[in-house]
Symmetry: C2
Subunit: 147 residues, 2 copies
C-alpha cells in the first residue's frame, strides 16, 4: 500500500490530506504531547490554542496555552528552560500534536524533574493502586527558579 | 536531592504524594498518552474516565473513553489489536497518564498506521504550514478490520 496519502483524498481531508486544519475543542485548544528528542521519553502533556500552535511553528520554540493561568505561555519564559522543537507531528483527526524537543536545562517539569511523569502507577498486595517514584530526581530547585 | 517524595509531603499531596488522586476534567476525563514500549514513539492520545483508568490498572489492557461515541472502549475490541500495558505513569498534577504498551498487530491507528502521528508539520517556502507523510504505511486495511 502507498506510504503517502491516497491520491483519491482531497488535499484538505482531515485524515488523509496534507493541509493543516487543527480541530480545536470547545475551549479553542488542542492537546500537545512533548517528548525528549534524545531519550524519546514523554516530558509533559499540555495544550495549545491557535496562537500557541502558530508561534511554535513559526519560532521553533514551544509555546503553550495555560488553562490554569488562562494565558499564552512560552515554555521557559519564567525558568529559562526553553524547549527547542526538532520535529512536530499531527494526529489522524488533527486534535493533537506531538513535538520532539531539546529541553533546555534538561528539566521540563515545574517541580524540577526531567519529566512531569515521575511516578509509576503500581498495585499493592491487595490490588489497590500505589504510586512509586521513578526518575524523580530534581534537576533544579523550583523555589530558586520560579521567584 | 532525594529521588523519592520529600518526607514533608502528605501521602495524598497531589504532586509529591504516592496516592492516586486523578484530577478528572469537567467531562470526567483525563488525558492518556500511549507510547510503543519498544520504539518509544507516541502511538496515540486518548482519554480515560474513572472506569477506563480502573479497568486499565486492573486488567493490564488499555481501556479508554471515546468522546465521539460517548462510551467506554477496550482498545482492540473491534480490530483485535489489543494494547498490553507494560508500564503506567502519572503526571505532576494527576490529570494525565502515560502508558507504555505492546501494540497487538503493530498498528494503533484506526487508519491502519502504526501511530496516529503519521504526518509531520513542516513549512513551505513562504513559511506556511505544510503536512508531510512520515511512517504513513498502512499495516492493515481499515475496511477489512472494521466491518
Amino acid at each position: 500500500m502507498s506510504a503517502s496519502s491516497p491520491s483519491s483524498a482531497a488535499p484538505d481531508d482531515v485524515e488523509e490530506g496534507l493541509v493543516l486544519r487543527p480541530k480545536f475543542d470547545a475551549n479553542g485548544l488542542i492537546t500537545c504531547v512533548t517528548t525528549d528528542a534524545t531519550s524519546g521519553d514523554v516530558l509533559m502533556v499540555a495544550f495549545m490554542n491557535a496562537e500557541a500552535l502558530q508561534k511554535t511553528i513559526d519560532s521553533g520554540d514551544a509555546w503553550y496555552f495555560s488553562r490554569s493561568r488562562a494565558k499564552l505561555w512560552r515554555k521557559g519564559e519564567s525558568s529559562g528552560l526553553v524547549q527547542k522543537v526538532l520535529e512536530m507531528r499531527l494526529d489522524c483527526d488533527q486534535d493533537a500534536v506531538w513535538i520532539k524537543v531539546e529541553q533546555g536545562g534538561g528539566a521540563a517539569c515545574h517541580t524540577g524533574r526531567r519529566s512531569c511523569f515521575y511516578r509509576r502507577i503500581d498495585r499493592d498486595d491487595t490490588g489497590a493502586p500505589l504510586l512509586t517514584p521513578v526518575d524523580a530526581e530534581r534537576l533544579f530547585d523550583p523555589a530558586k527558579v520560579y521567584r
